[in-house]
Symmetry: C2
Subunit: 255 residues, 2 copies
C-alpha cells in the first residue's frame, strides 16, 4: 500500500508560445532539475500552457458578438466579445446574473465563463487577447503522455488541470479536465460496506483529487509552476477519461 506521495514543481518552466512542444518542455525542465521520470509518475499540467501551445488565444478585436451575446452581456455586465466566445464554447447557460455567467461547457463540465481567462495574457489595446480551453483535453493529455513515454521509455500518466468554483462551497479547487494513462474515477465498491447513496460514496474522483493536490503547488498564477510531478500514487492500470467525472443530466439533481 502507498504510504507516501511527493509532489514536485518542475522548476523554471519557460513561458509557453503557440506551437511549443509541451512534452519536450517537460522533459527539458525535469532534466535541468535533475529529475528522472519513472514508471507510475503522474504529470499534472495546467490547462493554460496546453491551451497556449495549441494556439487557443483569441484576439478580441476579431470577435463580432451576435445578438444573443449582446443580450447575455447586458444581463451579466460582461464584455460582449468575451460572452460571444463563452457561448461558442458552451452548450447551455446554467446560471447568469450581473457579474456571473456559469455555463455547461461543450466538454460537459459546468464552470464560470467556459474557462475563458484573461489572466497571464495581454490585457489591453490591439493585442487584447483571451485564452480558450484546449479543444480536446483528453487528447492533449494523451499526446503528451505518448511523447513522454516514447522519449523516456517510462509509463507515465498525464492530467490536464483547471481551477473551478463550486456550488455550495466557496473558493476554487483544481479539477481534471483531461486524463491519459490513469482512471479518472476509481470504483472502489466492495472495498467497504457503506450505507445509502452508495455509488457516490464508493467511486472516488481520483483525477480531481490529484488535480486539487497539484493546485496547492500551481497556485493561481499557474504560469509560474504549470507542471507538477506526482510520485507514489498506487493507481490501478486503467485508462480513463475526464468525461468519466461528469454527471449526466439524469443523475444530476442540481441543474
Amino acid at each position: 500500500m502507498t504510504s507516501q506521495i511527493t509532489m514536485t514543481v518542475l522548476p523554471d518552466f519557460p513561458l509557453v508560445k503557440p506551437g511549443d512542444d509541451i512534452a519536450g518542455l517537460i522533459l527539458d525542465a525535469a532534466q535541468r532539475a535533475g529529475i528522472e521520470l519513472a514508471d507510475g509518475d503522474v504529470l499534472a499540467v495546467a490547462q493554460k500552457i496546453v491551451s497556449k501551445a495549441e494556439g487557443r488565444l483569441v484576439n478580441l478585436s476579431q470577435v463580432a458578438p451576435g445578438a444573443r451575446a449582446q443580450e447575455v452581456a447586458a444581463a451579466t455586465a460582461k464584455d460582449p466579445r468575451v460572452v460571444e466566445l463563452i457561448l461558442r464554447e458552451s452548450d447551455e447557460i446554467s446560471r447568469m446574473r450581473p457579474g456571473v455567467l456559469i455555463v455547461r461547457h461543450r466538454l460537459g463540465f459546468t464552470s464560470a465563463n467556459a474557462g475563458i481567462d484573461r489572466s497571464n495574457v495581454a490585457q489591453e489595446g490591439e493585442d487584447e487577447t483571451v485564452l480558450l480551453l484546449p479543444v480536446d483535453p483528453d487528447a492533449s493529455a494523451k499526446a503528451i503522455r505518448q511523447e513522454v513515454s516514447r522519449r523516456t521509455g517510462h509509463v507515465v500518466a498525464v492530467l490536464i488541470t483547471d481551477s473551478h468554483g463550486r456550488p455550495f462551497r466557496l473558493g476554487t479547487v483544481g479539477v481534471a479536465i483531461g486524463t491519459a494513462g490513469m482512471p479518472a474515477l476509481w470504483d472502489r465498491r466492495g472495498e467497504s460496506d457503506l450505507f445509502g447513496y452508495a455509488l457516490q460514496h464508493t467511486e472516488v474522483a481520483v483525477a480531481d483529487e490529484i488535480a486539487a493536490a497539484a493546485g496547492l503547488l500551481m497556485g493561481q498564477a499557474a504560469e509560474a509552476a504549470p507542471v507538477i510531478l506526482v510520485r507514489g500514487l498506487a493507481l490501478p492500470r486503467q485508462e480513463g477519461s475526464a468525461a468519466d467525472l461528469l454527471r449526466s443530466k439524469e443523475k444530476d439533481l442540481y441543474r
Copy 2:
C-alpha cells in the same frame, strides 16, 4: 516559493475507541514511524476517527423515528431510524429521491446523509450502529492542534476531512470540515489579473485542496490510514474556519 510537498501516512494507526486521545495517538504513530513533527506541518485527520473518539456512535435500536422521518424514509427508501438521525443533524433537505437524501448539515455544508455512515462500524443485530460527524469539527481540530503543539513545541495546523459527492461531477473528493491553525480559504486577489467572476477565481479553497490530496492516501477505507502528514506547504499564518468555505444562500445559485 514552495517547490515540493510530501504527504505521508502515519502508519499502523490503531483502531480508535470512544474517549481516545487523538493527539496522543498521532504522536505515538509518528514516533513509531521515526517521524518528528516540525513547524508548518499540516495533519489531515479523517473525520471517522475524530467522531469515534468523541463517542458519536449511535445504536439504531435506541432511535425512535418521528412522523417526518417516516415520511422521508418512505420517499427515499432508507431506514427510518437513520433518516431520523439525518434530520436531527440537518437544517433542511436539499434533494431527495429513492436512494438519495442530500441535506444541508447543521454545520452548513450540503452532503448526502448528513455524513452519517455505517462503514467500519458494526453492521447487524443489536449492536447496529452508525457514526455521526463531530459536534464541532473546527473545535476538534483546534483541540488536536493545541495538544500536539503543547507536547512537541511545534506550530502545526490540523484539518478534519470527510469525503463528499458533488453536483455536476461524479465521484467523491476529500473536503475539509474542520480546520485550525491555517486559512481555509486563501484570498489571492491581486496576485493575478483575472477576468469576470473574480471572487470565485481568486480565492483558493486551500483546505479543501489539502483534504483532497490527503484523500489520495486515506482512500475510502479511512480506518487504514486516517492521519496524513502534509509537509512543505507555504501557507500564510492565518487562522481560518471550515465555515469560511461555505457559500451563503445569497451567494449560491444552485440551492
